[in-house]
Amino acid sequence: MTTDSAQLAALGDATRRTIFELIAERPRSVAEITRQVPVSQSAVSQHLKVLRDSRLVRAEPKGASNVYHIDPYGLGQMRAWLDRYWSKTLAAYRVVVEQPPKESQ
Protein backbone atom coordinates (compact mmCIF):
# COMPACT_ATOMS: atom_id res chain seq x y z
CA MET A 1 0.00 0.00 0.00
CA THR A 2 2.78 2.38 0.91
CA THR A 3 4.67 1.20 -2.13
CA ASP A 4 1.63 1.79 -4.33
CA SER A 5 1.30 5.34 -3.11
CA ALA A 6 4.98 5.97 -3.72
CA GLN A 7 4.67 4.60 -7.23
CA LEU A 8 1.58 6.59 -8.02
CA ALA A 9 3.24 9.70 -6.69
CA ALA A 10 6.34 8.93 -8.74
CA LEU A 11 4.23 8.68 -11.89
CA GLY A 12 2.26 11.80 -11.08
CA ASP A 13 4.89 13.95 -12.78
CA ALA A 14 4.57 14.12 -16.58
CA THR A 15 8.30 14.18 -17.32
CA ARG A 16 8.88 11.30 -14.96
CA ARG A 17 6.14 9.33 -16.66
CA THR A 18 7.72 9.98 -20.04
CA ILE A 19 11.07 8.78 -18.72
CA PHE A 20 9.38 5.72 -17.29
CA GLU A 21 7.71 4.94 -20.62
CA LEU A 22 11.02 5.29 -22.46
CA ILE A 23 12.59 2.76 -20.10
CA ALA A 24 9.54 0.53 -20.47
CA GLU A 25 10.13 0.46 -24.24
CA ARG A 26 13.68 -0.77 -23.71
CA PRO A 27 16.54 -0.32 -21.27
CA ARG A 28 18.29 3.02 -21.72
CA SER A 29 21.15 5.05 -20.30
CA VAL A 30 20.78 8.51 -18.76
CA ALA A 31 22.29 10.05 -21.89
CA GLU A 32 19.82 8.25 -24.15
CA ILE A 33 16.91 9.36 -22.00
CA THR A 34 18.14 12.95 -21.91
CA ARG A 35 18.07 13.11 -25.71
CA GLN A 36 14.36 12.27 -25.65
CA VAL A 37 13.09 14.73 -23.07
CA PRO A 38 13.27 18.54 -22.88
CA VAL A 39 15.09 18.69 -19.54
CA SER A 40 18.75 18.62 -18.50
CA GLN A 41 20.69 15.45 -17.74
CA SER A 42 20.90 16.35 -14.07
CA ALA A 43 17.10 16.76 -13.99
CA VAL A 44 16.75 13.34 -15.65
CA SER A 45 19.04 11.90 -13.00
CA GLN A 46 16.84 13.36 -10.28
CA HIS A 47 13.74 11.83 -11.87
CA LEU A 48 15.51 8.50 -12.16
CA LYS A 49 16.34 8.60 -8.48
CA VAL A 50 12.66 9.00 -7.63
CA LEU A 51 11.71 6.16 -9.98
CA ARG A 52 14.43 3.98 -8.47
CA ASP A 53 13.41 4.77 -4.90
CA SER A 54 9.84 3.71 -5.67
CA ARG A 55 11.08 0.52 -7.33
CA LEU A 56 9.71 1.34 -10.73
CA VAL A 57 13.13 1.11 -12.35
CA ARG A 58 16.49 -0.32 -11.42
CA ALA A 59 19.99 0.65 -12.52
CA GLU A 60 22.54 -1.77 -13.92
CA PRO A 61 26.14 -0.61 -14.20
CA LYS A 62 27.45 -0.78 -17.75
CA GLY A 63 30.91 0.61 -18.30
CA ALA A 64 31.15 4.05 -16.77
CA SER A 65 27.40 4.64 -16.63
CA ASN A 66 24.16 2.97 -15.65
CA VAL A 67 21.55 1.42 -17.87
CA TYR A 68 18.03 1.69 -16.52
CA HIS A 69 15.58 -1.21 -16.66
CA ILE A 70 12.06 -1.78 -15.43
CA ASP A 71 12.26 -3.28 -11.95
CA PRO A 72 11.34 -7.02 -11.91
CA TYR A 73 9.33 -6.23 -8.82
CA GLY A 74 6.82 -5.11 -11.42
CA LEU A 75 5.10 -8.43 -11.93
CA GLY A 76 3.85 -8.37 -8.39
CA GLN A 77 2.52 -4.90 -9.09
CA MET A 78 0.85 -6.07 -12.28
CA ARG A 79 -0.86 -8.92 -10.53
CA ALA A 80 -1.83 -6.56 -7.76
CA TRP A 81 -3.34 -4.30 -10.40
CA LEU A 82 -5.42 -7.12 -11.85
CA ASP A 83 -6.38 -8.25 -8.37
CA ARG A 84 -7.68 -4.80 -7.60
CA TYR A 85 -9.30 -4.52 -11.00
CA TRP A 86 -11.31 -7.73 -10.59
CA SER A 87 -12.02 -7.05 -6.97
CA LYS A 88 -13.47 -3.63 -7.79
CA THR A 89 -15.38 -5.04 -10.76
CA LEU A 90 -16.98 -7.75 -8.62
CA ALA A 91 -17.85 -5.34 -5.83
CA ALA A 92 -19.53 -3.03 -8.34
CA TYR A 93 -21.26 -6.03 -9.92
CA ARG A 94 -22.69 -7.08 -6.56
CA VAL A 95 -24.29 -3.67 -6.10
CA VAL A 96 -25.97 -3.95 -9.49
CA VAL A 97 -27.06 -7.59 -9.23
CA GLU A 98 -28.53 -7.18 -5.75
CA GLN A 99 -30.75 -4.29 -6.78
CA PRO A 100 -34.39 -5.37 -7.17
CA PRO A 101 -34.91 -6.33 -10.82
CA LYS A 102 -36.51 -3.57 -12.85
CA GLU A 103 -39.02 -5.43 -14.97
CA SER A 104 -40.43 -2.46 -16.81
CA GLN A 105 -38.66 0.79 -17.58
Binding site: P72, W86, L90, Y93, R94, V97
Partner: protein, 161 residues
Amino acid sequence: MNTHAEVTRVKQSIVVEAPIARAFKVFTEEFGSFKTPEHNMLGVEIAETVFEPRVGGHIYDRGTDGSECRWARVLAYEPPHRVLLSWDISPQWQIETDPEKTSEWEVRFTAETPTRTRVEIEHRKLERHGGGWEGVRDGVAGDQGWPLYLQRYADLFTHAA
Protein backbone atom coordinates in the same frame (compact mmCIF):
# COMPACT_ATOMS: atom_id res chain seq x y z
CA MET B 1 4.40 -26.13 -11.40
CA ASN B 2 1.93 -24.81 -8.89
CA THR B 3 4.20 -21.93 -8.20
CA HIS B 4 4.33 -21.11 -11.89
CA ALA B 5 0.53 -21.22 -12.17
CA GLU B 6 0.12 -19.01 -9.13
CA VAL B 7 2.45 -16.45 -10.61
CA THR B 8 0.58 -16.30 -13.89
CA ARG B 9 -3.00 -16.07 -12.71
CA VAL B 10 -5.25 -14.02 -10.52
CA LYS B 11 -8.39 -15.33 -8.81
CA GLN B 12 -11.28 -13.48 -7.22
CA SER B 13 -14.69 -14.57 -6.02
CA ILE B 14 -17.79 -13.06 -4.51
CA VAL B 15 -21.15 -14.32 -3.23
CA VAL B 16 -24.21 -12.36 -4.32
CA GLU B 17 -27.80 -12.46 -3.14
CA ALA B 18 -29.34 -13.33 -6.48
CA PRO B 19 -30.50 -16.49 -8.22
CA ILE B 20 -27.96 -17.97 -10.61
CA ALA B 21 -29.94 -17.07 -13.74
CA ARG B 22 -30.09 -13.42 -12.73
CA ALA B 23 -26.45 -13.42 -11.64
CA PHE B 24 -25.42 -14.61 -15.09
CA LYS B 25 -27.79 -12.29 -16.93
CA VAL B 26 -26.65 -9.18 -15.08
CA PHE B 27 -22.99 -10.05 -15.44
CA THR B 28 -23.22 -10.42 -19.20
CA GLU B 29 -26.02 -8.06 -20.26
CA GLU B 30 -25.12 -5.26 -17.88
CA PHE B 31 -21.35 -5.63 -17.88
CA GLY B 32 -20.88 -2.00 -18.88
CA SER B 33 -22.77 -0.77 -15.83
CA PHE B 34 -20.20 -2.02 -13.34
CA LYS B 35 -16.97 -2.20 -15.34
CA THR B 36 -14.39 0.07 -13.72
CA PRO B 37 -13.79 3.34 -15.53
CA GLU B 38 -10.00 3.16 -15.77
CA HIS B 39 -10.43 0.33 -18.22
CA ASN B 40 -10.72 2.51 -21.30
CA MET B 41 -8.41 2.48 -24.30
CA LEU B 42 -10.48 4.90 -26.33
CA GLY B 43 -9.32 8.49 -26.36
CA VAL B 44 -12.84 9.57 -25.43
CA GLU B 45 -15.45 8.74 -22.84
CA ILE B 46 -17.22 5.40 -23.21
CA ALA B 47 -20.84 5.75 -24.34
CA GLU B 48 -21.59 2.06 -23.85
CA THR B 49 -19.96 -1.31 -23.36
CA VAL B 50 -21.47 -4.19 -25.30
CA PHE B 51 -21.13 -7.87 -24.35
CA GLU B 52 -22.17 -9.97 -27.34
CA PRO B 53 -23.77 -13.09 -25.84
CA ARG B 54 -22.36 -15.79 -28.11
CA VAL B 55 -19.15 -17.67 -28.84
CA GLY B 56 -17.25 -15.64 -31.41
CA GLY B 57 -18.74 -12.39 -30.11
CA HIS B 58 -16.79 -9.63 -28.41
CA ILE B 59 -16.93 -7.26 -25.55
CA TYR B 60 -16.41 -3.81 -26.96
CA ASP B 61 -16.49 -0.26 -25.76
CA ARG B 62 -18.09 2.36 -27.95
CA GLY B 63 -16.86 5.90 -27.44
CA THR B 64 -18.97 9.02 -27.47
CA ASP B 65 -17.46 9.78 -30.91
CA GLY B 66 -18.56 6.41 -32.32
CA SER B 67 -15.13 4.76 -32.17
CA GLU B 68 -15.00 1.16 -30.95
CA CYS B 69 -12.53 -0.89 -28.98
CA ARG B 70 -12.94 -4.69 -29.02
CA TRP B 71 -10.88 -5.88 -26.12
CA ALA B 72 -12.26 -9.36 -25.39
CA ARG B 73 -13.42 -12.32 -27.47
CA VAL B 74 -16.12 -14.66 -26.17
CA LEU B 75 -14.52 -18.13 -26.17
CA ALA B 76 -17.24 -19.98 -24.26
CA TYR B 77 -20.78 -18.92 -23.45
CA GLU B 78 -22.66 -21.38 -21.25
CA PRO B 79 -25.54 -19.70 -19.41
CA PRO B 80 -26.04 -19.70 -16.51
CA HIS B 81 -22.80 -21.41 -15.44
CA ARG B 82 -19.78 -20.10 -17.24
CA VAL B 83 -18.25 -17.67 -19.70
CA LEU B 84 -14.69 -17.71 -20.96
CA LEU B 85 -13.18 -14.64 -22.56
CA SER B 86 -9.88 -13.53 -23.96
CA TRP B 87 -8.08 -10.44 -22.66
CA ASP B 88 -6.78 -8.82 -25.82
CA ILE B 89 -4.92 -6.05 -24.07
CA SER B 90 -1.14 -6.05 -24.23
CA PRO B 91 1.09 -5.11 -21.31
CA GLN B 92 1.66 -1.89 -23.25
CA TRP B 93 -2.06 -1.20 -22.88
CA GLN B 94 -2.90 -1.64 -26.53
CA ILE B 95 -5.14 -4.06 -28.36
CA GLU B 96 -3.23 -7.30 -28.91
CA THR B 97 -4.05 -8.68 -32.34
CA ASP B 98 -2.13 -11.96 -31.97
CA PRO B 99 -4.44 -14.38 -30.09
CA GLU B 100 -1.38 -16.40 -29.02
CA LYS B 101 -0.34 -13.41 -26.93
CA THR B 102 -3.59 -12.93 -25.07
CA SER B 103 -4.55 -14.18 -21.63
CA GLU B 104 -7.99 -15.41 -20.72
CA TRP B 105 -10.50 -14.90 -17.96
CA GLU B 106 -13.17 -17.32 -16.92
CA VAL B 107 -16.26 -16.44 -14.92
CA ARG B 108 -18.03 -19.31 -13.15
CA PHE B 109 -21.45 -19.10 -11.51
CA THR B 110 -22.41 -21.62 -8.81
CA ALA B 111 -25.79 -21.69 -7.06
CA GLU B 112 -25.21 -21.87 -3.31
CA THR B 113 -28.95 -21.64 -2.60
CA PRO B 114 -31.87 -20.81 -4.92
CA THR B 115 -31.30 -17.12 -4.14
CA ARG B 116 -27.57 -16.98 -3.62
CA THR B 117 -24.80 -17.39 -6.19
CA ARG B 118 -21.04 -17.63 -6.00
CA VAL B 119 -19.25 -15.84 -8.83
CA GLU B 120 -15.61 -16.71 -9.41
CA ILE B 121 -13.21 -15.02 -11.80
CA GLU B 122 -9.93 -16.57 -12.79
CA HIS B 123 -7.66 -14.50 -15.02
CA ARG B 124 -4.97 -16.87 -16.26
CA LYS B 125 -2.25 -17.57 -18.81
CA LEU B 126 -0.81 -14.17 -18.06
CA GLU B 127 2.55 -15.42 -19.33
CA ARG B 128 1.10 -15.51 -22.85
CA HIS B 129 1.35 -11.76 -23.02
CA GLY B 130 4.93 -12.54 -23.93
CA GLY B 131 8.09 -10.53 -23.58
CA GLY B 132 6.66 -8.01 -21.20
CA TRP B 133 5.40 -10.50 -18.70
CA GLU B 134 8.24 -13.00 -19.01
CA GLY B 135 10.82 -10.30 -18.81
CA VAL B 136 9.30 -8.78 -15.76
CA ARG B 137 8.74 -12.09 -14.03
CA ASP B 138 12.19 -13.48 -14.67
CA GLY B 139 14.02 -10.23 -14.33
CA VAL B 140 15.71 -10.74 -17.69
CA ALA B 141 15.48 -9.24 -21.16
CA GLY B 142 12.43 -7.53 -22.59
CA ASP B 143 11.96 -5.04 -19.83
CA GLN B 144 8.51 -3.85 -20.69
CA GLY B 145 5.20 -4.82 -19.37
CA TRP B 146 2.85 -3.70 -16.70
CA PRO B 147 4.00 -0.05 -16.65
CA LEU B 148 1.22 1.37 -18.75
CA TYR B 149 -1.39 -0.34 -16.63
CA LEU B 150 0.14 1.31 -13.66
CA GLN B 151 0.26 4.55 -15.55
CA ARG B 152 -3.44 4.32 -16.39
CA TYR B 153 -4.07 3.67 -12.76
CA ALA B 154 -2.00 6.70 -11.84
CA ASP B 155 -3.78 8.80 -14.47
CA LEU B 156 -7.07 7.91 -12.91
CA PHE B 157 -6.00 9.53 -9.69
CA THR B 158 -4.59 12.51 -11.49
CA HIS B 159 -7.85 13.14 -13.35
CA ALA B 160 -9.96 12.46 -10.30
CA ALA B 161 -7.99 14.88 -8.16
